[in-house]
């Protein structure tokens, strides 16, 4: 098979990645700048027998996705800020009911209607804490068209393995940008589907032993009859008010991420070995940061780039370590300062942390980042 090279839009690459990952259900609602994901899925899913549906609002969009996931689908939705805000309650439902699904947020200028056709990265903390109650979050963040493809595949794998919603935090810059990429061959990228239980239905507990991370869990209609509810519940899925069962469930949910941090830590590094000024950036802003680091290096400044591709859970140890070694860290992001709060939280060594922010709808420029690098180098 010859290598297939394609010029793709980020949103298209995301949809292609979903199909590659085995997605067989999409439920969503039109919203700039993510609508192309839905349009591509509407085109491609039926070809492989998958189902696409455009619902009456984003709540219904994620609602159908969670319903399909309960029935065993690999399901996804795609939206942007306003829709992402509407999906918050059911994002929490997906965590509590332990339903795998992928939610793509092509971030745009906010808040409110904001700048529908302009990019931003200002939903990052919402991605972590937007829904109510203690809960976990897994979110990835692509910086290229190829990563829109590969990270969507990874989101599906993580959703299936961790049995929870996984977020792909894109933005309008990446979503609408076109770039060349080589389409992976079938089998080239790992795809994961959770195993189905083999034990007798009478012994099956939908939230019992062996159904957690990487475990086997059943789909509605597969010969195992069980109860799923958003109420706090016991291992059988029956509602409970008991403190011990509540703690069991809350600890089970927390352990999913807390016990698998190494696996959920993915950070790209460039020029970091001898870096004195580290630029922490992600998503679209990291493209500018990369350029700024290279230009700084050309001017003899020992700058390095630290780019998380998994942004939630936050890579605490990696950032703490980088801060320990660096003279200063510059955080470049397209908001008024969000992931910088996490960086400062991970700062054990009082290392200087300088913001390089842009929040007017335009892409931050290398020059702007260079200015802050210069300030950091003083």
């Amino acid at each position: 098979m010859s290598k297939q090279v394609a010029l793709l839009q980020g949103n298209e690459a995301c949809a292609l990645g979903a199909i590659y990952a085995g997605c067989d259900f999409f439920g969503g609602y039109p919203i700039t700048p993510s609508t192309e994901v839905a349009e591509e899925m509407a085109l491609m899913l039926p070809r492989s027998g998958g189902k696409f549906i455009q619902m009456e609002d984003e709540i219904a969009g994620i609602g159908t996705v969670l319903g399909a996931a309960a029935a065993g689908a690999k399901a996804m939705t795609a939206t942007s800020g306003p829709g992402f805000s509407l999906m918050m309650e059911l994002l929490g439902y997906g965590c509590m009911a332990e339903l795998p699904c992928v939610i793509v947020n092509v971030q745009r200028g906010g808040p409110s209607t904001g700048l529908p056709t302009k990019g931003a990265q200002a939903d990052m903390l919402q991605a972590r804490w937007g829904t109510h109650g203690d809960h976990q979050a897994i979110a990835l963040c692509p910086s290229s068209i190829e990563e829109c493809f590969t990270q969507t595949v990874k989101c599906f794998n993580l959703a299936e393995r961790f049995r929870m919603p996984v977020l792909l935090m894109m933005d309008e810059f990446i979503g609408h940008m076109r770039e060349k990429m080589t389409i992976p061959q079938p089998g080239e990228l790992e795809t994961y589907t959770h195993p189905r239980p083999k034990i007798k239905p009478a012994e099956y507990r939908h939230f019992g032993e062996g159904t957690g991370v990487g475990g086997a869990y059943a789909a509605m209609g597969s010969g195992y009859r069980f109860n799923i509810t958003g109420l706090t519940h016991d291992p059988k899925g029956f509602p409970t008010n008991r403190a011990d069962e509540t703690k069991w469930k809350m600890d089970r949910l927390r352990a999913k991420v807390a016990d698998h941090l190494p696996e959920l830590t993915e950070v790209e590094r460039e020029f970091m070995d001898d870096a004195e000024i580290v630029i922490f950036s992600y998503g679209a802003a990291a493209r500018t940061a990369q350029q700024a680091v290279r230009e700084a290096r050309a001017q003899g400044v020992k700058a390095g780039l630290l780019r998380p591709t998994v942004v939630w859970p936050f890579p605490d140890q990696v950032v703490t370590e980088a801060l320990r070694q660096a003279r200063a860290m510059v955080v470049a992001e397209l908001n008024q300062g969000q992931m910088i709060l996490e960086v400062e939280r991970a700062n054990r060594t009082h290392t200087r942390v300088l913001p390089a922010l842009r929040y007017d709808g335009e892409m931050i420029t290398p020059a702007e980042v260079m200015n802050v690098i210069a300030e950091a180098a003083r």
């Binding site: 439920g27 039926p46 009456e56 319903g67 399909a68 509605m220 009859r225 509810t229 958003g230």
Partner: protein, 273 residues
Amino acid sequence: MKIHPAYEMLRPDKNFPNVWCPGCGHGIVQGAIIRAVQKLGLDRDEMAMVSGIGCSSRMPVYCDFNSLHTAHGRAIAFATGVKLHNPKLHVIVITGDGDALAIGGNHFIHAARRNVEMTVVLMNNMIYGMTGGQYSPTTPIGKRASTAPYGTAERDFDPCSLAKAAGAVFAARGTVYNAAELEKLITQALAKKGFALVEAVSPCPTLYGRLNREGNAVKMMQWQKENTVNVKAAEKLPPEKVRGKIVTGVFHDAETPGYTEIYDRVIAKARGA
């Protein structure tokens, strides 16, 4: 000697009695649903009972089906996803007047418009019971509720007309007093290919009854017995004879292809292209 036929459809390891108040009609609707499922000989592994939030929606956990207790107002949206992904499943949505028509109203009318194959059993007690007696979209104007101490100032919905206008293929209403008729209507709805609504008028003695001084379970059921008119009889009666009464029976029964059937044609077209 024979044991209650419905027991075989109850979840074996769930504690009973159910959570509903003494005399609440919801348990009667559950009985009617179970008997309808048994009459049609439906396989429990292919039953998907999806509910929202509220007194109505505590039913699925008690049934030995695939049960999915979702979020307030969202049962029909979840059910759309369940049905579309696995059309083999018989999807029953269990919802209440507040759950389906207030917060869930948007999903109710759109699933009816799309004619997604599901039976929606809307247990109408004309109040929000779970949260303590607030008025709902079906509370008759002037009736009292914890949030309408002077009587409501709002007219109420007729869920059957709403469903019919939105595109449902079947809309019927029954009362828990006439549980046999209710079972028949649910059986008809389950056999339909499309969005089939059965509104079950189910008294709430604890809140609606007390707040409106309409007495206990027996008195409220007695009122149902004396104030129900079948739709065919109602057509022949002058309006003032029907006003304030519960009109029961089948209001709409049509044949229109269901959503998953139509979407299969989309798949065929996509594969043919």
